[in-house]
Assembly symmetry: C2
Homo-oligomer: 326 residues x 2
């Protein structure tokens, strides 16, 4: 059985997009449900998702384990897995790690762009590595089956997380720095550390992470995937589109600014281009995943490896990493 | 297979009591985890329980379904099911009903002693019945599999809850008013409504609910059970000890006063006897459940009915009522 899985999205969820997920053949999507929300606000976001699961039970199901992806596939639905792009939902309380896992969280970034209580974000000038609480939280995440995601973290913190964590760590959405030197893209050292941990890189289609931005060609994107397969091994890569489909620009402002500053922080954008960038023509939304699959075939991936990248690797990762450690 | 189950306790949890539960042969206990706590405070209480589950995994397991009771029995442990004696954990937010069920709550009282957002408590002068939000919350509790418990509710509210609820409702801990006319004990009309709903009454060993209080004899208690079996049917009764083992008197003050008054409210106690009353000599704690079993045999219950009252009825109730409706 082959699976189509996206390692990260933050779309304007609703029936339109769920139908596009079906059109794109998506068996599972990891969705962000918190950027800067505290615990209670995150619970409110889960409540909103519960209403979506109830209302659109013909299109989506809430994923807890890989077995839910099998069920979704058999019933023509898409599995939704929750994740956080910041540890703000656990506040300063390690007991909340198990609580959020029970509520369905399966990925948590140790940082967004800034310093957190756990680690350093990729936009800070100094990276002091994993904090005292960070070490404790990584151990607890390992215990309950909440995956450490270092997508927005700084280099040293990421390498230390890979070393401290006794289970694989991931970067759900980024690309190699060697292909496009963005602050959010990852060094070869980080990519090797992910693979050595048994973890995954999800390739991002967010224009700021693409060589040539919106004008990046599908061929260039797929060639980058091929080179990363050479570096990391073809079993440790998948997709992590970072798709923010149908979101208004107010959303990217919340993502970047939260409540940590009274100024505007443009993040990967700029004063002249503060909003979401235009997507590349070959990937506008959930219905376009087949374009990526065709692109991978086109540059010479064989059928097995195409399927690994399109979802089978993520499926295997979910099987091994969403349950409590023994 | 026969089960020994207690329908309500609020003890000073820890290794000592968990070992007594094993000594008493308890396969499952419904424990109160909130009296007046709001959502975040209730989560903190669950976090404290999670530490107990981790630390004492040889003695207790966290129960979600009846199958966990089977597992506990096979492995010589006691299953702990969570419940609330007040709807304060869901605040004014119906979405929290599913959230608390996901976190393990299986019983929720619509009121403690006072008026709540949902219904009227047994100490209020006027009982206006189930509120607008109450009707909605009962429907949602039915949907997710959170049992409506009317132990501390007033008469009209209780009868209306039985009518509105599409799944059985319970009184986890009280006795018949006809045996001992305490405000917390239940009229024959309420007892019949419980049975007609397919629900349960759990007999309380809390002295304020016993004829003769601390001096109540085991024989009188067991005769009361026999008469209630005649009224409700022997399939609708079980135990609900209301045991507050090893708790300091500060705990009964929190139970009664919470944050709703600046005065002392003595509840079922009085100014001259403000603390926990002494337990009857035949039931001092978790190790004494075999005394009840012997008492039931003594007054003539046959083996099948002894086992129904001691736990098999609760087990069947758990099987049918802890999962989402279809």
């Amino acid at each position: 059985m082959n699976f189509r899985i996206d390692g990260l999205q933050y779309a304007n969820w609703g029936e339109k997009i769920f139908r596009e997920m079906r059109a794109g053949g998506m068996d599972a999507v990891h969705v962000t449900i918190a950027y800067h929300e505290n615990f209670r606000e995150t619970v409110a976001n889960i409540e909103a998702w519960n209403l979506l699961f109830e209302k659109h039970s013909n299109l989506i199901i809430h994923g807890k384990t890989a077995a839910d992806v099998d069920l979704a596939k058999q019933t023509n639905r898409t599995t939704i897995f929750f994740g956080f792009q910041n540890p703000s939902p656990i506040e300063d309380d390690i007991g909340l790690v198990e609580i959020v896992h029970t509520l369905g969280a399966r990925f948590m970034q140790l940082t967004y762009n800034n310093q957190s209580l756990l680690a350093t974000g990729c936009y800070e000038a100094e990276d002091a590595g994993i904090t005292r609480m960070g070490r404790e939280v990584i151990r607890e995440m390992n215990r309950v089956g909440l995956v450490v995601d270092m997508s927005h973290s700084a280099e040293r913190s990421t390498l230390e997380a890979a070393e401290i964590s006794e289970r694989p760590i991931v970067v759900t959405h980024a690309n190699p720095y060697s292909w496009h030197p963005a602050l959010r893209n990852k060094s070869d050292a980080v990519l090797r550390a992910l693979a050595e941990s048994g973890g995954m890189l999800g390739f991002s289609m967010y224009p700021h992470h693409l060589a040539g931005s919106t004008d990046c060609s599908l061929e260039s994107f797929c060639e980058m995937i091929a080179r990363t397969a050479d570096l990391m091994g073809v079993d440790h890569i998948g997709l992590g589109s970072d798709l923010c489909q149908d979101q208004p620009d107010s959303v990217v402002e919340w993502m970047r600014v939260g409540r940590w500053t009274k100024q505007i922080d443009y993040g990967e954008g700029s004063a002249s281009a503060p909003g979401f960038p235009d997507m590349p023509e070959w990937f506008g939304g959930n219905a376009d995943f087949p374009n990526i699959e065709a692109g991978l075939r086109q540059i010479g991936f064989d059928e097995t490896d195409v399927n690994k990248v399109m979802g089978n690797n993520w499926y295997r990762f979910f099987e091994e990493n969403f349950k409590p450690s023994k």
